[in-house]
């Protein structure tokens, strides 16, 4: 009797599996087919350029560098002694250090940095993960974004419902102290200075 019951239960299991025979596959054939990434997907960090002039939006305010928990962003933007304005010299992101948290994007008040949906950036050498300003700008050229710069950052208008709906106030953590900060990797040619912040 027990044997019959066991066989019956095994058959129930097989029937459930059998239902899936002939169903279409739910997997896709990467890289021939690709998954469409959702709009908010957090892939590689890119720098955004002005849609009209083509210049970088970044003002070198260092907020993203301070917000980064992995110290993956290195910026060199010394203040001009006369105008007291910062001039952006180098902007390097070490993708090997980045943990794709998105805090840099949220810290930026100038629509200058964004996490694009791209996710394919493997490199044979570790040095290849260091992306300099030029490369970050190039990759960011065809990334769509909503420019919020013209308005005062404090009065950011709520974005339309379809966009990425970022919280209206931002957490901009204070700087990582220099003791916690890792020095950029050795092969980095344009090593950023910790300038007076």
């Amino acid at each position: 009797m027990k044997l019959l019951k066991d066989i019956k239960n095994l058959l129930i299991g097989m029937r459930i599996t059998g239902k899936h025979l002939g169903r279409h596959a739910i997997t896709i054939q990467y890289p021939e087919e690709r998954w469409e990434m959702p709009e908010r997907s957090r892939g590689i960090v890119v720098l955004l350029s002005d849609k009209e002039t083509g210049d970088l939006n970044c003002t070198g305010c260092l907020l993203c560098m301070k917000a980064c928990p992995s110290a993956a962003i290195f910026i060199d933007a010394p203040r001009d002694p006369e105008t007291k304005k910062r001039k952006l010299l180098t902007f390097t992101v070490d993708n090997a250090l980045c943990c794709f948290c998105g805090l840099c994007e949220e810290a930026c008040n100038f629509s200058a940095i964004k996490m694009a949906t791209m996710y394919e950036f493997s490199e044979p050498e570790k040095e290849g993960f260091l992306w300099d300003m030029k490369k970050l700008q190039e990759v960011g050229l065809d990334v769509d974004y909503i420019d919020t710069r013209k308005k005062k950052p404090a009065k950011k208008v709520p974005k339309p419902a379809t966009d990425s709906g970022t919280a209206t106030d931002k957490i901009v953590p204070d700087t990582l102290d220099s003791d916690a900060k890792q020095t950029p990797p050795a092969p980095e040619p344009d090593k950023p200075k910790e300038d007076g912040e």
Binding site: N9, I12, T17, P38, P69, C101, E106, G165, D169, L176
Partner: protein
């Protein structure tokens, strides 16, 4: 002819044994096929997460928390945010609390689905693994649509959540709930009465309730031994006291009961998500938190009911922008400690079943 004799035999199970879920090494002393001694060796995944947190500002700790227990990263984020909010006495907006509960419960379901698949695979049934992960995919898609990541969300923040849910979230979420409800029948049909599954699980690795309590075991493992203890009910956090749900328990405390209990919990969590979606209010998703968040000096312990038992964090603050001391408590550590007690005197194959049913995750043990 030389005299035949048997000898005890010491082998390493792990650190790269597929059924030790990560990198746990068990030094087994065997007599034939029988296990007579188990010594777990841990630390292979130690990343000094607590120390890392002490070198980060509070906001920067959240991405680190994701790595503490990556199968239910939402719980860890919630835990840390909750602790910081308690310290600084921040009031979280209604809508944010509802969103948090939705995410926490979805994450619990996702974790139990992984348990369902992985446990079955350890015991030798491959099909449930594919089914479990397929349904989990629906939940992960919801997370990705909301916060942009599939595993390390960085979604729950101090004072609220980082982004509001997109408009397509609610219909998709209800659809996922419906699918999982339907598929749960398939899951039960595949394993619950399966004779091989019964032989491998029933009466194996019995954990008596008093032993579990003595070792500080919590969560589903303890509830499967008949102890009705769930932090969501016993020490309600967030807005769990507003929802109508049961705490399922089982009596026998064996591998089979631990398995059944997790399926029961999935059903309860689905109910909670549904209730939260129905009652989701409009409003802010984040309280105003100063960019240079500095909680007052003091100490706090926060705890949540995770899919692997009590998850706790102790934060000591000196009033600075970084925590002075962070100490984590994960349920897996206690579950691993109890393994030598309930795993000795069984067969090696049963040890695999017991290890799987305890649902230990190693990053939580090793920190």
């Amino acid at each position: 002819m030389a005299e035949l004799r048997t000898e005890e035999f010491t082998v390493n199970m792990g650190p790269h044994h597929p059924s030790t879920h990560g990198v746990c090494r068990l030094i087994l002393t065997l007599s034939g096929e029988k296990v007579i001694k188990i010594v777990p060796v841990i630390g292979y995944l130690h990343r000094a997460l607590e120390k890392i947190c002490e070198n980060r500002t509070y906001a920067q700790c959240i991405p680190v928390m994701d790595r503490f227990e990556y199968v239910t990263a939402m719980s860890c984020e919630y835990l840390f945010s909750n602790a910081a909010e308690k310290l600084a006495e921040i009031e979280v907006p209604e809508r944010a609390e509802y969103l948090r509960v939705i995410m926490l419960e979805l994450n619990r379901i996702a974790s139990h689905l992984i348990f369902y698949g992985v446990t079955a695979m350890d015991i030798g049934a491959l099909t449930p693994f594919l089914y479990g992960l397929r349904e989990r995919e629906g939940i992960i898609d919801l997370f990705e649509m909301t916060c942009g990541q599939r595993l390390t969300y960085n979604y729950i923040r101090i004072g609220g959540v980082s982004k509001d849910i997109p408009p397509q979230f609610e219909p998709k979420c209800r659809e996922t709930i419906k699918t999982i409800r339907e598929k749960l029948n398939d899951y039960e049909g595949l394993l619950n009465e399966n004779p091989i599954w019964l032989v491998r699980n029933k009466g194996i690795g019995v954990l008596p309730a008093d032993l579990g309590i003595a070792y500080g075991v919590s969560g589903p493992v303890l509830r499967a031994s008949g102890v009705k203890y769930d932090i969501r009910k016993d020490d309600p956090y967030s807005i769990y006291d507003r929802f109508d749900f049961e705490i399922p328990t089982r009596e026998n405390g064996d591998c089979y009961d631990r398995y059944l209990l997790r399926l029961d919990e999935i059903k309860q969590s689905l109910n909670i998500v549904e209730q939260a979606l129905d009652a989701l209010p409009e409003g802010d998703i984040k309280a105003k938190v100063s960019p240079n968040f500095k909680p007052p000096a003091g100490e706090v312990y926060a705890r949540v009911e995770n899919s692997r038992g009590e998850l706790g964090v102790y934060i000591q603050s000196d009033g600075g922008k970084k925590p002075l001391r962070v100490k984590m408590r994960g349920g897996s550590f206690n579950q691993l400690q109890v393994l030598p007690e309930i795993g000795t005197d069984c067969l090696v194959a049963d040890l695999v079943a017991i290890f799987a049913s305890l649902d230990i995750i190693l990053p939580e043990v090793d920190r």
